[in-house]
């Protein structure tokens, strides 16, 4: 019985301190990114019903069958993530950016007497994890991160509080109880995230009936994710200046700062399959549909924790053995839900109108194959995802007009990705306005440039529920240049 209690208390400590796997982690790899290919992005990624360039391998592999010349394509993107964060009515701006290869592709159409058979392979940067957050505000409430990390001493003979962060940083009494500090601290911090998902894609498409194409893409996925979070609590109003945070330890009279640092490092691997079909109705329209089978990502996670407290000029660091105890390496899988897309494009005298809808039931997202994590914990998170997430329909629309005399195309688009959380208002959904232009030289060399501006709201809790909530107005800007050579 005692062993069982120790086990559950250990789980409690680890989940309270560590950046335990959350719904946010699952959504990180489940939600779609901004795709590949500047032509597609310029049209709001409403491309599953067009898909006649190398980016078809990403959007609708059936469209690969529409390509009749060998194509080599490559792209470079610049992504900037801006965040206006508000904590206790104090607003802080922060941003982070990344530049990546977006795509390197090769397409080979087989010579045919009738129909079409096309193969392609591609490297795609399918998602960018770059994000940033900075906040700074005074919490007038009687809560704090220090109190949240307090260890509960039950039963009486249990010594687990000796592994608690406040106890080791002299922020609690000798029983692990945070008895002096009671909120009213200035809270600030930053979180920087980077990395992305890369896919090596092998695709094929065939015309199975006149104007009807079927194709598939096998994606070998890899990627990295790194999050560095720093959090401070400062006694900016001198409330605890004359109080010993650890009674009986005189040097703790002048508490000034509590600091914690969480570093999360992911190595991501996995594979997935996407099938698609596209039908071309004469020269008037195309209709497409795709099935994205669940992606299975294996996450090898390294979590590193550190903390310290400051009392005037005295600094107390976390003992190294406790740092090691609270840091860990684990491994688990995340399985994303099916994604179904229906698309159409209409071609009217040089103007192409395109639209698509994508259905994703995020409540089907799952954690599994826990190594180094309690299976019960994952069962709880999976249950939370069933209860808190929902099925949503993302919508993409776009248009493109070709000026034939000068070989220039202009594009515009809009995309909407509703929030996967139940009950979130519409402004928590991601929205993007996009535009772009394309040039063609010598009937062989095409340059496409696209720009996308996105905006949405979200929030995050530093600890607990709605105790220290950071409201965030996000803006995302992406510029993408794609070069294509057909011969």
């Amino acid at each position: 019985m005692k062993i069982l209690k120790v086990f559950f208390l250990t789980i409690f400590i680890l989940t309270a301190v560590s950046q335990a796997q959350t719904i946010t982690d699952a959504l990180r790899v489940s939600e779609s990114g901004l795709g590949v290919g500047a032509r597609a992005l310029g049209m709001g990624n409403a491309f599953s019903g067009i898909s006649d360039d190398a980016s078809a391998m990403f959007f609708n592999p059936a469209g690969l069958g529409l390509i009749k010349r060998l194509e080599v394509a490559g792209g470079l993107d610049y992504f900037n993530y801006g965040n206006d964060a508000t904590l206790y009515n104090n607003k802080t701006n922060y941003s982070s950016s990344a530049t990546n290869f977006n795509q390197i592709s090769f397409v080979f159409p087989f010579p045919t007497l009738r129909g079409s058979l096309v193969f392609g392979m591609s490297y795609n940067k399918s998602k960018d994890f770059t994000s940033a957050l900075k906040f700074d505000g005074f919490n007038i409430g009687s809560n704090s991160m220090i109190q949240y990390l307090e260890e509960v001493k039950t039963p009486l003979d249990d010594q687990s509080y000796k592994n608690s962060v406040p106890y080791n940083l002299f922020l609690s009494d000798d029983t692990g109880k945070v008895s002096v500090i009671n909120g009213k601290l200035n809270q600030s911090g930053t979180t920087l995230q980077e990395g992305g998902l890369d896919s090596w894609t092998f695709s094929g498409s065939m015309e199975v009936s006149k104007n009807l194409y079927v194709g598939g893409s096998l994606n070998i996925n890899s990627g990295t994710f790194k999050s560095n979070r720093e959090f401070y609590e400062d006694d900016t109003k001198g409330i605890y200046t004359n109080l010993e945070t650890a009674p009986g330890n005189a040097f703790t009279k002048n508490f000034t700062t509590f600091y914690r640092n969480d570093i999360l490092d992911w190595e991501i691997s996995g594979w997935d399959l996407k099938l698609g079909t596209i039908y071309q109705l004469s020269k008037l329209a195309r209709f497409g549909a795709t099935i994205q089978f669940p992606k299975k990502f294996t996450i090898k996670e390294t979590y590193t924790f550190d903390a310290r407290s400051e009392f005037g000029s005295n600094i107390v660091n976390l003992p190294s053995d406790l740092k090691d105890y609270l840091s860990d390496k684990v491994e688990y899988d995340i399985t994303t839900p099916f994604v179904l897309t229906g698309a159409a494009s209409v071609n009217v005298k040089g103007l192409i109108l395109s639209g698509e809808a994508t259905l994703t039931d995020y409540s089907q997202t799952e954690f599994s194959n826990a190594k180094g994590i309690s299976a019960n914990y994952f069962a709880g998170v999976n249950r939370d995802m069933k209860e808190l997430l929902r099925a949503v329909a993302a919508v993409n629309i776009g248009l493109e007009y070709t000026i034939p005399q000068v070989g220039v195309r202009v594009r515009g688009g809009f995309m909407s990705q509703p929030s996967p959380y139940k009950g979130d208002p519409s402004d928590f959904g991601k929205k993007y306005l996009t535009g772009g232009v394309g040039f063609l030289a010598d009937e062989t060399f095409a340059i496409d440039v696209a720009y996308a501006h996105g905006w949405w709201k979200t929030y995050g809790d530093n600890y607990g529920t709605n105790l220290s909530r950071v409201h965030q107005d996000i803006s995302a800007d992406k510029m993408l240049v794609t070069f294509s050579y057909r011969f």
Binding site: R69, G115, M206, E207, N211, L273, Q280, R486
Partner: protein, 162 residues
């Protein structure tokens, strides 16, 4: 596993006979614009200018069709046989073993009678040369002899062909 089964089904579906797409193989004439049965165009030149060929013209229309030029063996003439069997690189002597001495017969006269060698097969399934108008040249491993394997440097005209 489900995805694998579905992928297998799609591949099998593609592989079955009767699929619409017919890929070119070297056994048939190379596809040209006139001989191909292509799907509808989406980018008409009037509205898309040079984007039209960018999307609509297959790459194989602009390449020279590969050809396979074969002359049946029965059509090989005596002159071609002579050329083929006698055209060794300069300085090399065909059909001569390294340990064989070089025999100089001098410069052939203009009216020298060409070698005619006839091979007959005996009952014991071996062959022998029955007639030769220029026995000297035969001993000299003339490359004009059909029963001599050329260029392997190991067989002389004296050796019966098995």
């Amino acid at each position: 596993m489900k995805a694998f089964k579905l992928l297998s089904s799609v591949i099998i579906m593609f592989a079955v006979q009767g699929c619409y797409t017919v890929i070119w193989t070297p056994d048939v004439a190379f596809p040209t614009k006139e001989k191909s049965d292509n799907s509808d165009s989406y980018y008409e030149e009037i509205y898309y200018g040079e984007y039209s060929p960018y999307y609509e013209v297959p790459w194989w229309y602009s390449v020279t069709p590969p050809t396979r030029f074969v002359i049946p063996a029965s059509e090989r003439t005596a002159q071609e046989i002579k050329l083929r069997n006698g055209s060794s690189p300069e300085g090399r002597t065909p059909n001569r073993r390294p340990d064989q001495p070089i025999i100089d017969y001098g410069t052939p006269s203009v009216d020298q009678t060409p070698t005619t060698t006839q091979t007959t097969t005996t009952d014991d399934n071996s062959s022998k040369k029955s007639e030769s108008t220029t026995p000297q040249r035969e001993k000299g491993n003339s490359s004009n002899s059909r029963d001599t394997r050329n260029n392997d440097g190991s067989r002389s005209s004296d050796t019966p062909r098995r």
